[in-house]
Amino acid sequence: MWRRLREAARRAKRNPLTVVGLLMVALVIVLAIFAPWIAPHPRDIQVVHPNDLFRPPSLEHLFGTDEMGRDILSRVIFGTRISLRIGTLVVVLALAIGLPLGIIAGTFGGLLDEILMRVTDIFLSFPPLLLAMAISAALGPRLENAMIAIAIAWWPWYARLIRSEAVSIRERAYVEAARAVGTSWPRILLRHVLPNCLAPVIVQASMDFGSVILTSASLSFLGLGAQPPTPEWGLMITVGRTFFLTHWWIVTFPGLAILLAVLAFNLTGDGLREILDPKAKRW
């Protein structure tokens, strides 16, 4: 019985879903890079067509046209660029703050650690969406500002995650040994602590890619993110919600795009976790 379970667990690692996730991520990246060549109506990012409003899906416009006569398929394809940009920028920015702080706190401990943990406590008890909303409202409605806002709400999670990894690494024998032979701290951080933190960070970051895209869509819904006519998926849904009961295609396709993109990153992250970090069960 026990063997069967273990066998099953091993098979789960070679999960077909991970492959699907990776393929979908690859597709998103390809679409983003080659958007101007793939999109059937690349000019519809800027141009409006007063005579083609609300066309239902057809061969000419596979996803139909929106309330300004623009081809929705083309806009969804260009939207991949924006979503990738949002995901990358936010995760990188949040890591840039959270990684050094987490490593330093976890490695050195003491008062520094205490202070840092209290600060992350504050941020963690702040509802993240509310924080992001307030910050992007403070910075003014622009996509860039929304990204900064999300990153500010996000870094404490990384700081926490990395700190706990660093703490456990600090105790390990080889770090103790390195210290005993007088290796300098920066060297220890760089050679021993940092590489060992990376696995959980990569997993977390790829999962967060999806959540960031969702959060940014929520901010757009409030008018705090991208500005029209940017083909950001969340914004397209926001604008289309006035018509969704009569013109279903305007919100359906951008929403599907969000779902698939987020799904892709989550599946990938999930798979990566099982490969890189099989112990972790935190989501």
Partner: protein
């Protein structure tokens, strides 16, 4: 134990103080001229000046913060610029609807998520497991406002099975006026034996609750699966199995006990967040809840309302976390409180 709780409470208070300072600073940094909201559209030059003075915006920010905290401790959370009501009263108006929605959503989530997680762990590696994993990851990946629209479109408009928005039908509300005890129509209807209202309220809450349930559903399925897989590998389970206990009984006895931890965690986590993040669902379903109030407060830079919501949600979150930790420790002696 006591000292642990005291320490946690003290730290929580510290966090809340930090939250209040950050929130206060943020709201004052947002460029805002509330004159038109306070005085009415087309405000005149004199009205703009007067609004600033009446709202205390002419004072230095630290003084404003001091006044706010002093008032807060006295139970005066300020007056909303938008609604012109005391913030505390507003929170009392909007909170019950939110709590009702979130609780029903979580009941749905757990009613589906727990069995699914157990099933998934029991049939680990099979196609059932894959399907449930896909479902749980999809649940987390679904943009809630998009799902809300699809449900409204298909189940509401096309099939006509559910109402599109609101908490109660108007005729129902007028003919069977629900008696307000808790502010939750479901609870009040049960207590006052108002069955038509109960039925109608359930019917109205269905779509928003299902939408809201997707995220905790995915999360709980997932957590229960991983927890169980871990537990099922432990020695005492092997012993139990070896001593001839049937697999279904193993699951029933140990699975259920071990499901408590993840369920509590997901519950606490989602509850705290949902108070605000449901604003998308609440706006689409015209659900008069706290999320909608918070969103409105932020986009209209309603300082006192933003502060009130932030502190309320942060406090809820901090307290729930503490409670969950204590309950878990109480139930599982292996967890040490430190």
């Amino acid at each position: 134990m006591i000292s642990y709780v005291t320490r946690r409470l003290a730290l929580s208070l510290l966090s809340l103080l930090g939250v209040s300072i950050i929130a206060f600073t943020l709201t004052r940094v947002i460029p805002s001229d509330p004159a038109d909201m306070w005085m009415g559209p087309h405000a005149t030059v004199e009205q703009i000046e007067r609004a600033r003075i009446e709202l205390g915006l002419d004072k230095p920010i630290p003084v404003q913060y001091g006044l706010y905290v002093a008032g807060f401790l006295r139970g005066d959370w300020g007056t909303s610029i938008v609604t012109k009501q005391p913030v505390l009263r507003d929170l009392g108006t909007y909170l019950p609807a939110s709590i009702e929605l979130i609780l029903v959503g979580m009941i749905i989530a757990f009613a589906v998520g727990i069995p699914l997680g157990i099933l998934s762990a029991a049939k680990c590696g099979t196609s059932i497991d894959h399907a449930s994993r896909l479902l749980s990851i999809t649940g987390v990946a679904l943009p809630s406002f998009w799902l809300a629209m699809l449900l409204q479109l298909v189940l509401g408009k096309m099939l006509g099975l559910f109402p599109l928005s609101g908490r109660l039908d108007f005729t129902m509300e007028i003919l069977h006026a629900p008696h307000r005890l808790t502010g939750s129509y479901l609870v009040d209807a049960v207590f006052t034996a108002n069955w038509p209202v109960l039925r109608d309220a359930l019917w109205h809450i269905a779509l928003p609750a299902v939408t809201l349930a997707m995220y905790p559903l995915g999360l709980s399925t997932r957590l229960i699966r991983t927890t169980l897989l871990e537990v099922l590998g432990e020695d005492y389970i092997r012993t139990a199995r070896a001593s001839g206990m049937r697999e279904s009984k193993v699951l029933a006895v140990y699975a259920l006990r071990n499901a408590v931890g993840p369920v509590l965690t997901v519950g606490a986590l989602t509850f705290g967040y949902s108070l605000v993040s449901t604003f998308l669902i609440e706006s689409l379903f015209a659900w008069p809840g706290l999320g909608r109030y918070a969103a409105k407060a932020i986009v209209s830079v309603d300082y006192p309302a933003i502060m009130g919501v932030t502190l309320l949600v942060a406090a809820t979150y901090v307290i729930l976390n503490l409670v969950v930790d204590l309950v878990q420790a109480f139930m599982d002696p292996r967890i040490r409180l430190s």
